[in-house]
Amino acid sequence: MSELRGADGFGGNGDEFYERLVAAHQGLSERQSGVLNARLILLLANQVGDRTILAQVLAAARASVSPAPEAGRE
């Protein structure tokens, strides 16, 4: 059973990734940053592939923002 990784998955290189993530947005307007983020999410989601993990990722990301929409929109 696949499970969302809570622990560090960057192998100690988290700072480097974070810097690159922020740098990728440098010089972009808010709109352009939105476009970049959308592309980034799609590429990463495809890389993950596993639908169980993806569902957990979506739930985890949503959890602290506001209650998730009603279930069953399937």
Binding site: G34, V35, A38, R39, I41, L42, L43, N46, E74
Partner: protein, 556 residues
């Protein structure tokens, strides 16, 4: 001056208003569209007489449903009309998807050969209805077609329905055992019975236009997201016969339908698609928006809802007309058996459950397509556009591009009555699946198709190696006691006692047909059960479990 001459069908004073004695009918069908007419033909071919009532006296005004899928054509073939349809229609199987001017990808809806019917044909609904009406006229003993007969009231009887019908000569009553409501998205029977469509309405407006022109366009389905040549969100083009082209423009939420219907404005749009020099003529247009919705139950007492009267979706995916014909295919063999007292009425519950799954599948697909085509928020649009942009470079993103997921027959796997399998037979066609076609050679040496041999009756399809096995299969079929069972033995070569030969090996490969493998196939050409070896008791048990339906539902 259109390319099609509409015929007015003659209204005749019904017997009930001409001094005749009213007689009760086994089946009355409301609506003489493709779905209602197909139901009448299907029932008549099984010996069940019916009367069809339609409030109009002509075929569909405008081309409307034009994309007829392979499975539907296979059903039309059983009804005796597919030959004319495929001869007249434009055959296609490739869809091309563009973003702006750039072609993103193509999809092929039937990459393998060895099927009698093509993936799709485009054929205007008025042609389809005309061919069906002409087929109905070949069955005058069994089908009475009444034009300009409008149902105004539906009343339950103990074991049937009594309807009130309005005609140019006044009103009359008609009693029937079963009423099939095939009267479309704005079904008056549905309204009279007080059933609500449950689902979602979408705000986007679309303009469909038929134009006649001498163009060298391919037969492929072509879909543009954000076309460079039109200010709208998307454009879809289909080629139809008679040099007609269907162009579907996505106008957006705020479009004014009256303004957009204006012929000169329409032709300005068309001009931007086809270029300034191609001579083209306006034929028909319509501005529409759509819902994805269904009624909760398709059976209400002795009233049965089929097609758009029961469920509606967007046109992207060609799931409306095709879904309706497949409803009929599922229903009519069951209804015929109920009427002949060969099965209990509760067998009809399987229609509601199986076609309910089909409707839900269509609604799900249609809703997802709509969401992709009409992003609702800024973020939704950002994702949608990101998919389109990534699709140019990445195959995974092409799979997310959704211009319509085209009609596929529903697999009833796992639903009540569909046998659970031990998994000893290879091939994709497990219980519930629609049967695949394949080329065969008949006993007399002539070439044919497997699906031509199936349908209307239950069939045991038995793969054999030796003559003795063929004889044994025939004997088992006779022993098992399934009424009307047709045993079809398939071997590598034609030999005495074997009904079909499989010279190309496609029947065996598609059905995992090792010697002994046996399929029990429903009259609607879906697999009911399959086994590694033929066993008359197992055949009988599977058929009875389905025929008696409710008992099986308890245990399934």
């Amino acid at each position: 001056m259109g390319s099609y001459t509409y015929q007015r069908f003659r209204y005749r004073t019904p017997d009930e208003l001409a001094g005749g004695r009213p007689k009760r009918r086994p089946v009355a069908i409301v609506g003489a569209g493709p779905v209602g007419l197909s139901a009448a033909i299907d029932l008549a071919q099984q010996g069940v007489p019916c009367v069809v009532l339609d409030d109009n006296d002509s075929v569909s005004d405008g081309s409307r449903a034009i994309c007829w899928a392979k499975r539907t054509l296979e059903i039309f073939d059983r009804l005796g009309v597919a030959g004319r349809m495929t001869a007249k229609g434009v055959t296609w199987k490739v869809g091309r998807v563009y973003h702006g001017d750039c072609e993103l990808y193509q999809f092929d809806l039937l990459p393998e050969g060895g099927h009698k019917m093509p993936a799709f044909i485009n054929l205007q609904q008025y042609h389809v209805e005309q061919y069906l009406v002409e087929r109905v006229c070949e069955l005058p003993e069994l089908i009475e077609l009444r034009w300009k007969n409008r149902v105004t009231a539906v009343e339950d009887l103990d074991d049937g329905v009594r309807i009130t019908v309005g005609t140019p000569d006044g009103e009359y009553h008609l009693e029937c055992d079963w009423l099939i409501a095939a009267d479309g998205a704005r079904s008056s029977v549905r309204t009279l019975r007080g059933h609500q469509f449950e689902g979602q309405a979408f705000e986007d407006k679309f303009l469909i236009v038929d134009v006649r022109m001498e163009a060298t366009y391919p037969s492929d389905r072509r879909f543009w997201f954000q076309p460079s040549f039109d200010p709208g969100e998307s454009v879809l083009i289909h080629r139809q016969p008679d040099n007609l082209f269907r162009i579907d423009f996505q106008l957006g939420r705020d479009a004014d339908p009256d303004l957009e219907r204006d012929a000169s404005r329409v032709m300005e749009r068309v001009r931007r698609v086809v270029g300034p020099h191609v001579p083209c003529e306006f034929e028909w247009c319509s501005v529409y928006s759509f819902r994805c919705a269904r009624i909760a139950r398709f059976i209400d007492g002795h009233v049965i809802f089929v097609g758009d009267a029961a469920h509606v979706v967007s046109p992207f995916g060609a799931r409306g007309g095709n879904g309706g014909i497949q409803d009929v295919d599922n229903l009519c063999w069951k209804l015929a058996r109920v009427i002949r007292s060969e099965a209990p009425a509760r067998l009809l519950a399987s229609y509601e459950i199986e076609r309910g799954r089909a409707a839900d599948e269509s609604i799900l697909n249609s809703r997802r397509t709509t969401a992709f085509m009409s992003p609702g928020s800024t973020v939704e649009r950002q994702f949608r556009d990101a998919v389109l942009e990534l699709a140019a470079d990445f195959p995974f993103a092409r799979a997310l591009v959704n211009s319509g997921r085209l009609s596929q027959p529903c697999d009833y796997a796992g639903l009540p009555g569909m046998a659970l399998e031990a998994g000893t037979v290879a091939g994709a066609m497990s219980a519930g699946a629609p049967c695949s076609d394949a080329p065969v050679t008949r006993a007399d040496g002539t070439p044919g198709w497997l699906l031509e041999q199936l349908g209307t009756t239950p069939c045991a399809l038995v793969f054999v190696e030796a003559e003795t096995q063929a004889a044994r299969a025939d004997a088992d079929g006779a022993d098992c006691g399934i009424r009307g069972l047709k045993v079809i033995t398939v071997g590598a070569q034609a030999s005495r006692g074997t009904r079909l030969a499989d010279p190309q090996g496609l029947v065996r490969s598609r059905y995992g047909g090792a010697a002994g493998v046996t399929y029990l196939i429903r009259p609607d050409q879906h697999v009911l059960a399959r086994w590694a070896h033929c066993d008359p008791h197992a055949l009988r048990a599977a058929w009875d479990a389905y025929r008696r339906y409710d008992e099986e539902r308890e245990t399934a």
